[in-house]
């Protein structure tokens, strides 16, 4: 449907905010997590793969953590079992942090954009 004179043409887009610097900073953080694709470049392919693998491990780690807390709250674990489970998860988190440092990744890097569904983590 061609636009008629009565139906005004699109104006130039305008951006309105009283907090420009704050939004620039936040949007930069969002942009830093994009694109969620593996860059097939010899220099960065290793980091891209590490990011993908570590994201999946982080996702599973969080699931395990939630499940452990649910069981702890459910009261079906003995104090020793809670302690053992907590120690195992603590070590897993420490190991993951170590791997992140090794590949130069930050917490915000470990995510996958699933499009309309949202983000994985």
């Amino acid at each position: 449907m061609p636009l008629s004179p009565e139906n005004p043409q699109a104006a130039e887009p305008a951006i309105e905010t009283a907090y420009t610097e704050e939004f620039v900073e936040q949007l930069r953080c969002v942009a830093d997590t994009l694109p969620s694709r593996i860059n097939v470049d010899p220099q960065s392919v290793e980091q891209g793969l590490a990011k993908l693998v570590l994201t999946l491990i982080e996702f599973i780690r969080r699931l395990l953590e939630k499940q452990a807390i649910r069981r702890m709250e459910g009261g079906d674990l003995s104090p020793q079992q809670i302690e053992d489970l907590g120690l195992a998860l603590m070590k897993l988190e420490a190991k993951l942090n170590e791997l992140k440092t090794q590949f130069g990744l930050e917490d915000e890097d470990l995510n996958i954009d699933l499009g309309p569904v949202g983000r994985l983590i």
Binding site: P2, N7, A10, Y19, E22, I69, E83, G86, A88, P116
Partner: protein, 242 residues
Amino acid sequence: MKFYLYCVTDADPNLKDDPGGLAEQIVEVINSKSLFVVASKFDGEAVPVTRENVLQHEAIVRKSFSNTTVLPFRFGSLVTESGLESYLKTREHALVERLAQVSGCVEMSVKIIWQNSAGIEDSEVTVPDLEEVGAGTAFLMFKRGELLGNYRLEQEARELEAWLADGLKDVVREEQITIEPTQRLVLSASYLVERARLTDYRRELGRLQAERTNLHFLSSGPWPPYTFANIDLEFGAHFGVS
């Protein structure tokens, strides 16, 4: 040689006097029955993601948008001539339907930054006494507090989402809202607004901003209906690319 795609329109966008497209190629309007595809030839397998290319893509889409209704393609969409023919043939009905849905509308965007009132800092996160419990138990208790804090943040973000949706429901045709409760940029919304209702939309948004002065708003637009075009996914499904 492939075609680089900018958008599908429901009428000739009349771009004859415009500057060239990506890679300094002439912008062509390819007609197929009731559809018009704005494209330019491209020699290569992938379009470099550069500031110039992105702005060029946006400029062509916006120019087309100023003359007609558009469904923008995702930046970087390349296809062969036969692939494009096949795509238009098989998707004609869906594209015409989608064009009708966005006809006469623009996309408006709202982003909100909040100062987390129920932030993790003041939630139930307490550091357990290590003399009473072991390190493993303390770790799980700490994580439990963190989860509770996140849950409360999510509740607040959902409430914010519902408040905004309710306040604008009479002036928008469609909406897509994303919330990120643990981030400061907590809400990003896109609205499909009829051009004729833009003034009403701006007035209502202004009223909502005045209602919650603790929230920091960024509003932008009018944009071509990128969020509501939804043809890149169909394109991807058709050609097996993304």
